[in-house]
């Protein structure tokens, strides 16, 4: 009888805490167009898979009227569960409990579930919806943030870490998402900044709204802090499910293999690319023609659109794609595109995901703003990331591969395992017009008809050098292939690289140009 009584008491106790901040606060949360923390977890995870930890944890602050103040779960829900059968650890800040503010116990619940994820080698997902540090707790809140950042760093490259911004995430709090692998934001709901609009206005006199300063779109398109952008919370949770099914549980595993499927795309792949190298096309059409079921999950779709990165499957196995996008800025590498590609390459390398590079690029972006923004330092990250990566690395040169860009985009010289080129590929030190102007400067200047001579010399250069055969004659390209053979050869190359072993000199860690 007593046990039954105890069980009932437990149920009652749980029911109270599970209410979070109570009906009124929940009403407010809903009025803001947001789901509650518990709803978010239950919607994201497989049915009945969520197991909560530390439901009864309480804060210990005694100052500033905090004594005797009860905060359900100290404002954060933590636990384990699964997404499409993949085990994960998760925490969700509960904005209905004192604005989701972070105190020491709140942070310790988070670090406990992070430690658990790292030990069990499963991905960790954090849902952020918090007003920031709990000021009453002072240094305790700061300690809490620091302990989270430390674990983000320890777990980096060991387990995938995902941050979901479903509310405000300001001040120090922003640095946990920034340290994780993928950040998800939702239009009108996500807000991220170091100092908010009020402080900026008081100190600097600059007036700006929260949305314009650090809204979802800003981080998805301008800053590049966010990797995935959604119009609603439900769409965002679906994106997370898709991503989780494509990446491995840890660096000791490979991503889950699924039943291979042929691409849905049936047109001739060579018709996608215009013959004129000056005309653009959407490189994602090429990716869709190559991947299983023509399914491609693009990362950073809006930011630095001149390079495309993302995951697709080939022969059922997850592949990371890096592709120049001629549709935007002619597909050049600039500061942002370099950062975008380099970090993605390092993620793929850390988590055993082979990299396929599709190259069609005219070089690095010229301009004072680029040079002064440090395009040298940023561009170097791409070279570093490709050279350092030991996963299978395959490059297909679709059309242009000029100069520094040719080297950077996973060339043979940086350790590519397979180098393939389409027959229209132009692999050269620069575009024919520029090269002819330099090499034949004298002839052109001395000619009676300069333009005619220039045209003749450009044509000469195109015939001699703007093709894949010079590179192929030196063995820098393994094979010049017909476009229709591309998928078949990629499948073969991936099959052959299953047991790839590549050694690097022993070191504590490298010093990449961060």
């Amino acid at each position: 009888m007593t046990l039954k009584k105890n069980i009932l008491a437990l149920r009652q106790k749980k029911a109270i805490v599970e209410k979070g901040g109570g009906d009124k606060a929940i009403e407010k949360q809903v009025a803001m167009g947001k789901m509650t923390a518990r709803e978010r977890i239950l919607t994201l995870l497989d049915e009945k898979s969520f197991h909560e930890y530390d439901l009864f944890v309480e804060h210990e602050e005694r100052n500033f009227g905090m004594e005797g103040k009860e905060l359900a779960g100290d404002g954060v829900i933590t636990g384990t569960g699964s997404i499409n059968g993949n085990p994960i650890c998760i925490y969700a800040q509960d904005f209905t409990v004192m604005g989701g503010s972070l105190g020491l116990k709140h942070a310790r619940k988070i670090t406990k579930i992070m430690d658990h994820a790292l030990k069990m080698k499963v991905p960790c997902i954090g849902i952020n919806d918090s007003g920031g540090a709990r000021i009453q707790e002072g240094i305790g809140a700061l300690a809490g943030y620091g302990e989270i950042f430390y674990r983000n760093t320890m777990a980096s490259g060991v387990i995938p870490q995902i941050s979901v911004i479903l509310g405000p995430c300001a001040g120090g709090a922003v640095y946990s998402p920034a340290l994780t692998d993928f950040v998800f934001v939702v239009e009108n709901i996500s807000k991220m900044f170091i100092t908010g609009p009020n402080v900026i206005e008081t100190v600097l006199g600059e007036k700006i709204s929260q949305e314009d300063l650090g809204g979802a779109r800003v981080h998805a398109e301008i800053t590049g802090n966010a990797h995935f952008y959604a119009l609603s919370e439900l769409e965002c949770l679906e994106q997370i499910k898709e991503l989780i099914s494509l990446i491995p549980h840890s660096n000791q595993q490979k991503a889950q293999k699924v039943e291979p499927k042929e691409p849905k795309f049936h047109k001739n792949i060579e018709n996608i690319i215009p013959a004129d190298p000056k005309q653009p096309y959407d490189v994602r059409d090429i990716i869709n023609a190559l991947v299983d079921d023509s399914k491609f999950l693009e990362v950073h779709e809006l930011w630095a659109a001149n390079i495309v990165i993302g995951f697709g499957r080939m022969n059922g196995e997850t592949i990371g794609f890096v592709a120049n996008q001629p549709m935007y800025l002619a597909g050049v590498l600039d500061c942002d595109a370099s950062d975008k590609a380099a970090r993605f390459i390092r993620f793929c390398d850390a988590f055993n995901i082979p990299i396929v590079t599709l190259e069609d690029m005219p070089g690095y972006l010229p301009g004072v703003d680029q040079e002064h923004a440090g395009v040298i330092r940023h561009g170097a990250k791409v070279l570093y990331a490709y050279s350092e990566a030991t996963v299978p690395k395959i490059t297909v040169i679709l059309r242009k591969a000029y100069g520094g860009g040719y080297i950077a985009m996973n060339s043979r010289h940086l350790g590519a395992d397979f180098m393939l080129a389409w027959p229209g590929a132009e692999i050269a030190v620069m575009g024919p017009e520029g090269a002819a102007n330099i090499i034949f400067r004298k002839e052109i200047m001395e000619a009676e008809d300069e333009d005619a001579m220039r045209q003749q010399k450009v044509q000469e250069y195109i015939e001699k050098f703007a093709n894949p055969y010079v590179a192929a004659s030196k063995g820098y390209i393994d094979a010049v292939i017909e476009p229709s053979e591309t998928r078949g050869l990629l499948l073969h190359a991936l099959e052959l690289s299953q047991n790839k072993d590549d050694y690097r000199p022993a070191k504590k860690h490298g010093v990449p140009p961060f």
């Binding site: 600097l204 653009p280 935007y328 005219p362 010229p366 017009e433 102007n437």
Partner: protein
């Protein structure tokens, strides 16, 4: 990300011009211009605490022009070379953004 919304433009990377779309970030970038030594600009956003000079006055190199308070620091802005103050665009107490043209100079020769 709709392709048909924008028009393809000519975009020169080297000698060759490519047809492509521009990103918003690229279109909104600041084009660089050579800074004029006759323009005293704020190198950091802040508040004008004090102004020591008047329009029309000739001021020697190194003399203080104004105090720009930013990030709790009082920065003394000095005359870069001897010249005449032709225009003062700020007053005591106002907040200025970064790169605000505060004082214009003219040569005394």
């Amino acid at each position: 990300m709709q392709i048909d919304k924008q028009e393809l433009v000519d975009f020169a990377v080297t000698a060759r011009k490519y047809k492509t779309l521009l990103t918003n970030k690229y279109m909104n970038r600041k084009t660089w211009s050579n800074p004029s030594p006759y323009e005293i600009q704020s190198y950091i956003p802040g508040t004008i605490l004090d102004i020591f000079v008047k329009e029309g006055e000739v001021v020697n190199e190194g003399a203080p022009l104004l105090i720009l308070e930013a990030m709790k620091m009082q920065n003394r802005i000095e005359m870069p070379f001897t010249a005449r103050i032709s225009k003062i665009n700020v007053e005591v107490g106002i907040k200025v953004p970064k790169d605000c043209l505060m004082i214009e100079l003219e040569s005394i020769e």
